[in-house]
């Protein structure tokens, strides 16, 4: 039976019956199979997340390509120059990037078993993410008021779909982070589960990095 002393570096963890306790075995994440190292040196779940993110790159790549292809090809309606409020979007982008910092601090906290700080930082990450989404909703509302809709022109179509899909990624990330926070509140997320946090972090950092590309392409590239 698993006991507390099987957690990494032997730190006492608050465990309740039913908790999932990681056991350092060098084996597979889902399957007690053999005690040999993974040839890639990456745990299964982490490798899987990297692969998914690689795949997601091409998904965003397709929409970024569409946006670039359709730059300045709109035949009517408002142009980016009419609508963009670059200082505002820069601030929300900065907040999103700062959420990555909070994510790193949350992971570091859970790895050393500091659950209180973990919960603070994971909430901060989600809050920064939510602020970004709030900014996006404000921006969309503002643009719609000024006459840019999905069907107004190519700029409207490609802009809303690309940034909307990114926003959807952020929202999924927020739900994920809040779930981790909830698990931690229930005592279900312990030091040994830090890989779960790390994987959520990989996703979160990826979404931030994609935003750097999207922000550059949409807002910063000169006409």
């Amino acid at each position: 039976m698993a006991t507390v002393d099987t957690t990494p570096d032997g730190a006492p963890a608050r465990l309740t019956p039913g908790d999932v306790v990681p056991v350092d075995s060098g084996g597979q994440a889902e399957l007690a199979h053999g005690a040999h190292e993974q040839p890639t040196g990456l745990a299964n779940a982490k490798l899987a997340m990297w692969l998914f993110l690689a795949s997601d790159c091409l998904f965003f790549g397709a929409f970024i390509t569409a946006y670039l292809l359709y730059r300045d090809r709109s035949v009517s309606g408002p142009t980016p120059q009419d609508l963009f409020n670059i200082p505002f979007t820069s601030v929300t982008s900065f907040i999103l990037l700062m959420s990555s910092l909070a994510m790193v601090l949350a992971l570091a906290a859970v790895q050393r078993g500091d659950y209180r700080r973990f919960r603070i930082w994971i909430l901060a990450t989600a809050l920064f993410g939510a602020t970004f989404v709030g900014g996006q909703i404000y921006e969309f509302t503002e643009f719609t008021r000024k006459g840019l809709n999905l069907d107004t022109n190519l700029f409207g179509s490609s802009f809303y779909v690309l940034t909307g899909l990114h926003g959807t990624h952020v929202i999924i990330g927020i739900v994920w982070l809040m779930s981790l926070w909830g698990m931690s509140m229930q005592g279900r997320l312990t030091q040994g589960d830090s890989e779960r946090v790390e994987i959520a972090g990989l996703y979160w950092h990826f979404v931030d990095i994609v935003w750097i590309v999207i922000f550059t392409v949409i807002y910063l590239l000169p006409k």
């Binding site: 990494p8 007690a32 569409a66 190519l154």
Partner: protein, 644 residues
């Protein structure tokens, strides 16, 4: 550092809402299974079912075209049938069938007890089934897909109110393929992690069986090919339903963007379909020639080269769209280049058979049929790299002939080879060889009668996707032969189904190793126990199992090793260990992943989300999101393996 998880003894209420299913036998266990072998069988079963459905669609098409001015089908029924025939064969037969064999045999070939993510594996299967059911439900719910399996814009992207295509078919098609893409992506990730991380000790990459290798390359292709398709489908869906302008030329949109995105997916997809087939053939030919695969590493690297080059040839589907001479020259050259690794493989297969002690079993016949038919299809493929010739042949039956030679003469022949080769391992009894050989010869004749005349029809100008043709074009006679051939192929499939039933009744027991095989799956009982390997095998050579059985004397002749020889001889020690597989352990104490409801629950939510999108009816969101969220959270809280 890597970790596994196990749960503490529970004294409080269970963490998950549904009582964990325990049973691993019986009818209901199939709904909760996470065993890669059962999931593989289910993939194979639905792929075979869809193969019959797609075949019936093809026969209706052939009835319509059997004579000039056919009256069996209306034009719009014809559109629906060729759309669904193509979509079904590519997405619900070709891909799931490769995944079926991969699911069953990749873990066995690398000496693993299961895949890396057993529950995600089950989820992938249920998503494919849900996606197929969703798409076929369109026949009863407002019209089936009718814009071709490629779904070119602006035909497909014009809103229903714009009147380009009647019915909601394209919405069902786009949403259904997005769902299927979720299943394909998860299964690809699972294959990659399994193959890279779960190999038995000593199973280095360059000792892996070729089938496993090709599944690895295929998984990478799937991983990167699906997202451009998903993006293109989302754009089509938005253009149809939310009036976006992605493909509206009058507003500056570019329908060619769709073609580029689709074929960036579509050409790698061709290799997603054929590489597993090449893998199967590379397993079968050495076994029945009693020789190692000729040039193993060249076959592997050719497969990888095809995987890379496959990304740089998509424009050869678009040579007639006016992309300019430099573009089409570059893609024409790349297309010629990809013939090199493909041709290399064909010579490797010939070299394998050459000088071997060839045993013409049904599996071997189908593999030899593959090599011959695939070569014919490859040759007409190289013709398409010559741009002026391609321009002449574009959208004619010549193209139909070409891709059926590679996909039917290639992929389907390889699948049948795989059936006859691996059936005894999966079900414990052999398929009948006499019926099998009849199956092969009828299929070979029927296949060539169906598709060879199409070359001539195409060269004399018969266009694809035409639902009728006038009597004075000179196409009538060849079309009659083609239609007769189509029904002969159907007869061959019927013989196969009869063989399945006949062999199941006769139950000619296979034993562990009926073909004197080379790879690890033949070292364990047929059908394999739930835990696959009682002891994790230790791999010491390529074709490891073969080296457990045979060695060479000084003159290079094969000598069978006595089972359980002296211990100071390394090969005999290996034999002794191998024998322990069968006798020493009964699998007690092996912790296997526990069955779970949640893969099915999550997958069941997805079609409801699909209906919500197609009908824009928010009521569908309630069961859809409900099942999805409940399933995901319960899944997340459930440990992979229950403590006993």
């Amino acid at each position: 550092m890597t970790t596994i998880t196990r749960s503490l003894p529970k004294t409080s209420t269970p963490a998950v809402p549904l009582r964990r299913p325990k049973s691993t036998t019986g009818f209901w266990s199939w709904f909760t299974t996470v065993d890669h072998k059962k999931i593989g069988i289910m993939y194979g079963a639905i792929a075979l079912l869809f193969f019959v459905i797609a075949g019936i669609e093809a026969l209706l098409i052939r009835l319509q075209l059997a004579g000039p001015n056919g009256t069996v089908l209306t034009a719009s029924q014809y559109n629906t049938l060729f759309t669904m025939h193509g979509t079904t064969m590519v997405f619900f037969v070709g891909m799931p069938m490769a995944v079926a064999f991969g699911n069953y045999f990749v873990p066995l070939q690398i000496g693993a007890r299961d895949v890396a993510f057993p529950r995600i594996n089950a989820f992938g299967f249920w998503v494919v089934l849900a996606g197929g059911t969703f798409m076929y439900s369109s026949f009863m719910l407002g019209g089936a897909p009718n814009g071709g399996w490629f779904g070119y814009t602006p035909l497909t992207s014009t809103p229903i109110s714009g009147g380009a295509l009647p019915g909601r078919g394209v919405d069902f098609w786009a949403v259904g393929l997005v769902l299927l893409g979720i299943g394909s992506t998860t299964s690809a990730i699972n294959f990659i992690v399994t193959i890279l991380n779960m190999r038995a000790p000593g199973m280095t990459l360059m000792r892996m069986p070729v089938f496993t290798w090709m599944m690895l390359v295929t998984a990478f292709l799937t991983l990167f090919a699906i997202p451009p398709l998903t993006a293109a489908l989302i754009m089509v869906f938005f253009d149809r339903n939310f009036d976006t302008l992605f493909f509206v030329a009058s507003k500056g949109g570019d329908p060619l963007l769709y073609q580029n995105l689709f074929w960036i997916f579509g050409h790698p997809e061709v290799y997603i379909l054929i590489l597993p087939g090449m893998g199967i053939v590379s397993e079968v030919l050495p076994v029945f020639s009693r020789k190692p695969l000729f040039g193993y590493s060249v076959v592997i690297f050719s497969g990888i080269a095809i995987g890379f080059l496959g990304w740089g040839v998509w424009v050869h589907h678009m040579f007639t769209t006016g992309l300019g001479p430099i573009t089409i020259t570059a893609f024409g050259l790349a297309t010629m280049l990809i013939a090199i690794p493909t041709g290399v493989k064909i010579f490797n297969w010939l070299g394998t058979v050459y000088g071997g002690a060839v045993k013409l079993t049904t599996a071997m016949l189908f593999s030899l049929g593959f090599v011959a038919m695939f070569t014919l299809g490859g040759l007409s493929g190289v013709m398409h790299s010559i741009v002026p010739a391609d321009t002449q042949q574009h959208d004619t039956y010549f193209v139909v002939a070409h891709f059926h030679y590679v996909l039917f003469g290639g992929l389907v022949f390889a699948i049948f080879s795989g059936f006859y080769y691996w059936w005894p391992k999966i079900f414990g009894h052999l398929l009948d060889e006499r019926l099998g050989k009849l199956n092969f010869w009828v299929m070979l004749v029927g296949f060539n009668l169906t598709f060879f005349p199409m070359h001539f029809l195409g060269l004399t100008g018969m266009p694809r996707r035409t639902y009728r043709y006038p009597a004075n074009m000179g196409w009538t006679g060849l079309n009659q032969i083609v239609s007769v051939g189509g029904f002969i192929v159907a007869l061959a499939t019927l013989i196969f189904v009869v063989n399945i039933i006949y062999s199941a009744i006769k139950r000619n027991p296979a034993g562990n190793d009926p073909w004197d095989g080379r790879s690890l799956e033949w070292s364990i009982p047929s059908p394999p126990p739930e835990y696959n390997f009682a002891q994790t095998p230790i791999v010491e050579a390529r074709d490891d199992w073969w080296h457990h059985k045979y060695t060479e004397d000084e003159d290079g002749r094969l000598v069978a090793l006595p089972a359980g020889g002296s211990d100071d001889d390394p090969p005999s020690a290996v034999i002794a260990r191998a024998n322990e597989h069968e006798t020493a352990a009964d699998g007690h104490g092996i912790h296997l992943p526990s069955p779970s409801f949640y893969p099915l629950v999550v997958a069941a939510g997805l079609p409801f989300l699909g209906y919500a999108a197609v009908f824009k009816n928010m009521w569908f969101l309630i069961p859809g999101l409900g099942l999805l969220l409940f399933g995901i959270y319960a899944w997340g809280l459930e440990p992979g393996t229950e403590e006993h």
